[in-house]
Symmetry: C2
Subunit: 507 residues, 2 copies
């Protein structure tokens, strides 16, 4: 019944994934009772046929021989995924509970367990009993598996002798190691080449990495031209051909699940794109990736009210905080093209969890930095983007992420002119910044400086952690509005003058 199952089945049918076999344990029971209560009219076989699946009906779902034969036939079908509709009975064999919802979420209980064993001709006092016949069968299966594995290893050994480079490459990607020196292919963006949306920068980074990181595969949930996720010149995956570019269709939730599957398979570094506001559609998939510790990359573009005319339905507000609250997910919101390169570097080097990139639709200036290159500094999750004039502690610290960093830099100009010695700190990835040692963090954000303003065009929730009791937060605790992005920014409080005013008021 879950929508994600429909999305995934539809995509599998489209791609003719003949190796997929579902066994549908069709016991007609849900927690609430019979499936008739909420699922009375649906012809599941017909639905899957409509998705382009082979469907087999197995009236006796508990007949192991029949199931075995059906699985063989499903294996033989290589051009379509297969669904085996196995008509079963929940708690089969339990005289008092079989076929009822009572056995769905609760144990049978001792008496019923005993009655069930008796009914099935099983020794009533035995627990965790493995009959000799089963033990012998499993020993056979193990021996066969060992033989097959040894044969495969021998085959790979021979292959490695003939193709040492390809074999080493195979082992590299399967172990999840990036190629030596890959990061030197990351582009460096010059401020003089003009402003660039971070989504565009992301597309350039991806395309610069594609030749040197061949395990990079991905796509978009039908927003390819907007997410800039296409690897140019690479083939598109289809039923007819392999390819590193994937059209996921308008199926964000399944896309997230597919990315996790690709990552679990190993040998691939998967990424997937949609608008940040639609990350909501795939949160359960993101959570599973975070919980499972999968290095998946989410390319979430159109990351604020800067989206403009599409209006509040398409303007994320709560999403940054919502994603940051998720354990083991890193959220990276780069301020410019070079921070975007750093974001990709962090995301690809991370081996134990997913990273979400929040990227702007609108163009942003390429930052000049403060002696060190932003791309280097951003690898620490937070850094001084512009130092205060003079020496000693700054009088004011402006903290921002993404598109609001350039805004903070403009506000700094205003404040410095008024003699307020102002530092701008870019905090593209709070999770990564928190991992830095205390000395570094205190160097970037001196604890004794309490006049701080956090600026982010999103929910304020969570920013007190950095702004502190003495600080202010310029954020957005309402839904956005439909107008050109620059107008929405200005009207909702995000201009250099307004940020400067909030800062000034703190002193």
């Amino acid at each position: 019944m879950e929508g994600v199952a429909s999305e995934a089945a539809s995509l599998a049918g489209h791609l003719q994934l003949g190796k997929i076999v579902y066994v549908y344990d069709d016991n007609r029971i849900t927690i609430d009772g019979s499936t008739d209560l909420s699922f009375s009219r649906e012809d599941v076989a017909r639905r899957f046929e409509a998705y382009g699946w082979q469907v087999e009906r197995l009236e006796k779902g508990h007949d192991v021989e029949a199931l075995h034969d059906a699985l063989r036939r499903a294996e033989d079908e290589v051009e379509r995924p297969s669904l085996i509709l196995a008509r079963t009975q929940i708690a089969h064999g339990s005289p008092g509970k079989q076929g009822t919802a009572a056995s769905h979420g609760a144990p049978l209980g001792e008496d019923e367990l005993r009655a069930t064993k008796k009914n099935l001709g099983w020794p009533e006092d035995a627990f965790f009993l493995v009959p000799d016949e089963v033990r012998e069968r499993f020993a056979e299966v193990r021996a066969r598996g060992e033989e097959l594995e040894a044969a495969w290893r021998e085959r790979f050994r021979r292959y490695a002798g003939e193709h040492p480079d390809l074999a080493a490459e195979f082992e590299r990607v399967m172990e999840g190691r990036l190629p030596e020196g890959w990061a030197s292919s990351l582009p460096v963006f010059a401020p003089d080449n003009g402003p660039l949306a971070t989504r565009s920068a992301s597309g350039k980074v991806l395309n610069a990495l594609a030749p040197v990181v061949p395990e990079l595969v991905g796509g978009s949930a039908d927003l390819t031209p907007s997410n800039n996720t296409e690897l140019k010149g690479e083939p598109w995956l289809s039923a007819a051909q392999a390819g590193r570019n994937i059209h996921f269709g308008v199926r964000e939730h399944a896309m997230g699940a597919v990315l996790s599957g690709l990552s679990l398979h190993r040998g691939l570094v998967p990424y997937g794109g949609t608008f940040l506001v639609f990350s909501d559609y795939m949160r359960p998939s993101i959570r599973m990736a975070a919980l499972t510790g999968l290095p998946v990359v989410y390319v979430f573009t159109h990351d604020s009210i800067g989206v403009g005319e599409d209006g509040p339905t398409h303007q994320p507000v709560e999403h940054l905080t919502s994603l940051r609250a998720m354990p083991n997910l890193w959220v990276f919101r780069p301020a410019d093209a070079n921070e975007t390169a750093a974001a990709w570097r962090v995301a690809l080097e991370r081996r134990d969890g997913p990273t979400a990139l929040a990227l702007s639709r609108q163009k942003l200036p390429v930052l000049r930095g403060d002696g060190t290159a932003p791309a280097e500094s951003a690898l620490r999750g937070g850094y001084v983007a512009a130092r205060e004039s003079g020496s000693g502690d700054p009088a004011m610290v402006l903290m921002a992420t993404g598109s609001e960093v350039s805004l903070a830099l403009e506000a700094r100009e205003i404040l410095e002119k008024e003699g307020i010695r102002t530092r701008v700190v870019s905090l593209p990835c709070l999770e990564l910044f928190q991992e830095q040692d205390e000395t570094y963090r205190n160097d970037v954000l001196p604890p004794q400086v309490r006049a701080r303003v956090a600026v982010e065009a999103a929910s304020s929730l969570g920013w007190e952690r950095y702004a502190g009791d003495g600080g202010a937060i310029v954020a957005l605790d309402r839904f956005g509005a439909s107008a050109p992005g620059t107008v929405v920014f200005e009207k909702l409080g995000f201009s250099a003058a307004q940020v400067a005013a909030r800062a000034r008021a703190l002193l």
Copy 2:
């Protein structure tokens, strides 16, 4: 392609919602290009037939007469929802762009617009032109509508004469007014009757209100026995009968959308239940309700690691913060049975947006309160649940929500015995507390008392707002674990002794 569309269509088929008619603008174009790129093999007609829909194929989707006839036939079919597959062409009539993805997200442009008008035999220089023939036709339609409305009003006037009580009741529910004195039916729970899970209390509240608030309708996404959402003795909605209880099936996302639809219809106060962790599945629906300002109630039970054995996949961690970050959504996490009654009161009295209730799986003591009834105090979103001993400012404030309030009360006992004058503040609804006047808020949380500990078995993100620079946060910035709930609580830092230790360390 979106999963929610599948869920909704499946449910509509099950309920035989014959009044639903979809016109599928089957132009075979998505943003990425032809639907063949991601949707090549699906037989949509067959899929909807499998859901139990009537399906009509309209090869000439731009033939208005044919569409009109198809709509009439769809109206005539009252036992099944109807899908009209209208084969259309995107940007129909545009010689350069028709049938291409280029016309999906961008305007045609002046030249192409002119060419299109010419091609369609339309005056090339006219903008916003309404031909006389169309104007006359619309005038007819308006006149017919006025007649129909007048007839309906007359019918209702006669009905009101014959059945004044029923007519008044109809007007009351359509205007969204609750019945006079309804709140006096809210149950009051006595501490002496023993502990009670807030999900159980919620079920009792719902059932106490059901007879006096007949517009209350709802159900669960196949977790009825766990969510306690059943109105006992009321019929279940099915194709065969009307009913206030709804089996949504395992379809959280569609459930959220249906609740919004019921609310927009007016005359009904809808609620829907699932586990808090599965609120992720329905976030886009929750967001639409918040954005549209719909008074929908979400019953999210199993609200913490207290879920226990089901483990991290079923234990929410980031969800409270994630939901609190959403504009115009109120999150109410009651500490006991009486706060649960207050939560329902707040949720039903709210007219301009949705409320999410976060309810415990595990039993919680019914609080004795501090002179005033918790149910009354909780209506302000935050209140003093236990006052410090003696007079003057407390030395310590423990703040908590939900199941952690009783934990804070236990910790208070420990601290008071050590001479640390400790106040416990229950903060069941932060959004509501923020709406109180400053005097009240400062009375509950004296700004001069900086020794504060926030306790919530969920993400810490956002709690700095209340704990402040001088405070501490006892929270959970990792996924949970599978073990009995009491064990998980203790192991992850949630015991009275550990809370007391964190408090003590602040002094």
